[in-house]
Symmetry: C2
Subunit: 350 residues, 2 copies
Amino acid sequence: MKIAVLPGDGIGPEVVREALKVLEVVEKKTGKTFEKVFGHIGGDAIDRFGEPLPEETKKICLEADAIFLGSVGGPKWDDLPPEKRPEIGGLLALRKMLNLYANIRPIKVYRSLVHVSPLKEKVIGSGVDLVTVRELSYGVYYGQPRGLDEEKGFDTMIYDRKTVERIARTAFEIAKNRRKKVTSVDKANVLYSSMLWRKVVNEVAREYPDVELTHMYVDNAAMQLILKPSQFDVILTTNMFGDILSDESAALPGSLGLLPSASFGDKNLYEPAGGSAPDIAGKNIANPIAQILSLAMMLEHSFGMVEEARKIERAVELVIEEGYRTRDIAEDPEKAVSTSQMGDLICKKL
Amino acid sequence: MKIAVLPGDGIGPEVVREALKVLEVVEKKTGKTFEKVFGHIGGDAIDRFGEPLPEETKKICLEADAIFLGSVGGPKWDDLPPEKRPEIGGLLALRKMLNLYANIRPIKVYRSLVHVSPLKEKVIGSGVDLVTVRELSYGVYYGQPRGLDEEKGFDTMIYDRKTVERIARTAFEIAKNRRKKVTSVDKANVLYSSMLWRKVVNEVAREYPDVELTHMYVDNAAMQLILKPSQFDVILTTNMFGDILSDESAALPGSLGLLPSASFGDKNLYEPAGGSAPDIAGKNIANPIAQILSLAMMLEHSFGMVEEARKIERAVELVIEEGYRTRDIAEDPEKAVSTSQMGDLICKKL
Ligand SMILES: CC(C)[C@H](C(=O)O)[C@@H](O)C(=O)O
Ligand SMILES: CC(C)[C@H](C(=O)O)[C@@H](O)C(=O)O
């Protein structure tokens, strides 16, 4: 079992370190061992090798069973030409190389952290427990042609039947094991790419008579996520809208530092939902939970270790219930624990 | 002083009726009179004349000093070909014809309605008082080429220097008279159209040394609007992102029924931020306040009647403070007043 570990930029290295501590505990308990091969990506790779996704990193990823990523990007590399930046040249290129077509982000408002949520308790209602299923391989992120000169900049927003069918099936399959509701989000009253999206999603829906499908315009969805988030089970949407709505949803629990993600493709990639947070990098104050829960998703989806995944999730919940908090979720920042303390606490609980 | 009045679909006609009652009070008080020419648009026009923006309506708009719109669209017309639908063929075509390049939506959380906001009081903090300035004439809404067939659908997301310069100036001018902060929202780490956007906004910013400019990625903005909405003063953004973020912002006060908007172009157009709300249309329960505040914006921006605008806004606030509420903002729906009662109350207060 081989894992490509790419810590990346910003808080990436420090939170990945904590997740690997947790993995070590899992290894000791189960007797199973993982081969961890470290690679460089993003700004980290630019600084060392002059490019955001070096050949060596590609090789490491292609030879691994799963990719475990920290985060990429930061103001330091913002003035490079687009294709050389950590995001387009690093993360997006890696997504393309691995054919990552689905980004899955489960979002839960923890009962013991309801005070951290920006939403009123009555809005959270019976609880927020949703999954965003974002198409990750196409749309305006990759559409051709695109270009930039002194006078104009343009991109192509495009979807084809095959791509929509595949991501729709992913969403319906996930919904089958949950509350059986899919909300497909598009802008089919204006965008031609969305009209195709809606049509194909309707077709795929016929294969899943048990799952209820609703369509929602993206502007309305952005509003409904705040007004009544408990109405959502699985949100199925495009690359661009998914980027926006999954981050918006990520605000509901009150901190990005809690949310894992998995991307499915030729090989699966696991990374926290949050960004590289350069402002707090290197201070040992970032929340490692998102990275640790991404590890749990990896154990479950790439290595079939469902029980271990559940145990990690349970350990995280217990530590939170006991009142331990990093700064991002602490009521009293004075009492916050550090990144490494949080990692240790979760290891101990496990 | 000539106004084109286009009630449109859904709740449009009933809320426009209330706003016109308010206008009548203004006319009586000031001795000024407005010529109101009624026209049909959207589904309403499709049902009567077979097209969403008939020649007659165009003529009425071109001859008027300002356009006062209700809302367009509804499920009834969703299966028509794109260019024949209320949205693309009606509203978007009208926006194009009038060269509407800026959509301005002021968003305020009323102190006496803090209980309606989905956000916790501590998140609302010192208050939410922001304006979204959405580019309305270009971007992926109008970019060419675009198309749809059985296999694929595509749109072009495009910005040019001139268009960005113009909307950026609008935003900076508005900020000058407010808290002097502009947050420009884009996705310049991925989209080429956003890279141009950011570059040109930076250039325009140099003309406004007193105004502070920040750039924010759209995914982060969607999150920050919930986590810390009070950080925003003027949000400057593209057509597509503006559609999403202005509706998201519109959720902060707890009801779309409170929010007006103005669009600037060859002639200005005024309409509520909310949609046609077909589910509650014709029931005399919709909130007419958004339409009434749009009237106030019209008096101010198209007819220089600043004092009358302030008086209408004050009347609305007083009626709310006295505890009168339509269903959308009522704590106890049983005690809610109807659309026409709310209109009457505001007229009386005025
Ligand atoms: C860093 C950026 C390119 C990326 C995206 O937009 O996909 C990020 O926001 C994400 O959501 O993973
Ligand atoms: C009806 C629709 C075309 C329109 C838009 O997306 O611009 C609406 O959502 C709005 O924001 O005015």
